[in-house]
């Protein structure tokens, strides 16, 4: 009995410590982003790694998401005889929900895991300690460029995803199933308003922040993880943790932002 209470207390204290450490990690990074000197080159390099390299994945997933939406939407709307609503159904579900969420999940899988493993290995092989020895702030040199790059890349990828998805819906709905082309696009232009686009933008920015925050945090504090496993196994465990935690967090926040803004 006493053991159980002690265990619960330990768990709670560990959770508290982790949350606090995440907060301190975030504010330190924010301070380093705002403080000069600014180095654009590392940011460009990170935009390449997080953003440009994810474009192919985004194109493929976006296209097929759009195709599925077009196909499903057509058959469901056909029952009510209102196929002309297909365009607005596809565009609204892409811009409000699927675009930001699926892009974020893809980026977690492609870039989030890579970021976490990279920093985890640097911590593991004491490269971060080496940076500190050379008086190079690891936050400024390692973490800050990744934060800025993720905040730039996520909205860009999300809007590419939206466009390709709308194109996919067009292929399935108009080219294959014969919805009128004018109805598809006009319905879309009429029903999507600026508030939807703003919601999409806000979501993608917050998701970008969450992804990079969780991935870098998990990697950076590899040595403080409770499991105490170091080395290759530790990196693998921490990367899995980061991917799972980030994916779940994205879905929870998607609901929170949606209910906050749509209400």
């Amino acid at each position: 009995m006493r053991g159980m209470i002690e265990k619960t207390g330990r768990e709670f204290l560990y959770l508290l410590e982790t949350i606090g450490r995440m907060g301190i990690f975030f504010t330190t990074t924010l301070g380093n982003i705002l403080r000069p000197p600014y180095h654009p080159y590392p940011v460009i390099r990170q935009v390449y790694l997080i953003g440009s390299r994810s474009v192919i994945v985004i194109l493929v997933t976006g296209l097929f998401t759009g195709l599925v939406l077009g196909l499903q939407g057509y058959h469901n709307l056909k029952q009510f005889g209102s196929e002309e609503l297909l365009g607005s159904a596809v565009a609204l579900s892409l811009i409000q929900e699927l675009g930001p969420v699926l892009t974020a999940l893809m980026v977690i899988g492609r870039a989030g895991s890579a970021i976490c493993a990279e920093i985890g290995i640097m911590r593991n092989s004491e490269q971060i300690d080496a940076l500190e020895c050379m008086a190079i702030d690891p936050y400024k040199y390692l973490i800050a460029p990744k934060f800025i790059a993720a905040l730039i890349s996520l909205p860009v990828l999300t809007f590419i995803f939206n466009i390709v998805g709308i194109l996919g819906g067009y292929l399935a709905g108009v080219v294959l199933l014969g919805v009128a082309e004018g109805a598809y696009f006009q319905g879309m232009y009429d029903s999507v308003v600026w508030a939807d686009i703003r919601l999409c933008l806000i979501k993608s920015l917050i998701f970008g922040l969450l992804i990079v925050w969780i991935a870098t945090f998990k990697g950076y504090f590899l040595h403080l993880d409770r499991s105490g496993v170091f080395g290759a196994e530790g990196v693998s465990r921490i990367t899995t943790d980061a991917v799972v935690l980030a994916s779940v967090t994205i879905l929870v926040w998607d609901y929170l932002i949606g209910s906050l803004i749509l209400s």
Partner: protein, 148 residues
């Protein structure tokens, strides 16, 4: 040809994103860089139930404007709808504005029917002849309960 370097790829990536964003924003978000010339007119309805801001205004089936705002006149208990009509279209002062539905469950829009007057509406003028939205439920209940 020079091989693509990192900066060029990132530049291309950002350009693609910016292009996608601006296409969506301009086409769908009603952000206008070139203000379309239009003039406002108002119309009063007994009921506009289902009409939303941004709804289409049609004349002879052609889109000629949009609903810019909806408010309630609390002394007359009437809905006051502001319409933005394209400068290309001149409306007679006895034009009729009626609220219609596209399809059975479709969006509400405002249908304008031209009048026969010689006088034209000036910017800020009011369409006097209006027809309120038809509620399917009211029609059905009228049919059921009046036929006793």
């Amino acid at each position: 040809m020079k091989k693509m370097n990192l900066e060029m790829i990132v530049g291309l990536f950002l350009l693609a994103g910016f292009a996608s964003f601006s296409w969506i924003a301009i086409k769908m978000g009603d952000i206008k860089f070139f203000m379309e010339d239009s003039y406002p007119v108002t119309a009063r309805f007994v009921s506009i139930s289902g009409l939303k801001e941004g709804a289409v205004v049609e004349l002879a089936g052609v889109k000629v404007g949009k609903v810019s705002s909806i408010s309630l006149d609390s002394s007359e208990y009437e809905a006051v709808v502001k319409l933005n009509i394209s400068d290309q279209v001149q409306l007679q002062d006895d034009s009729i504005a009626s609220i219609r539905t596209s399809g059975i469950i479709g969006d509400r829009y405002i249908k304008l029917t031209p009048g026969g007057s010689e006088e034209f509406l000036t910017p800020g003028g009011e369409i006097v002849e209006t027809e309120s939205s038809i509620s399917l439920e009211e029609l059905v209940s009228k049919y059921i309960f009046d036929s006793k």
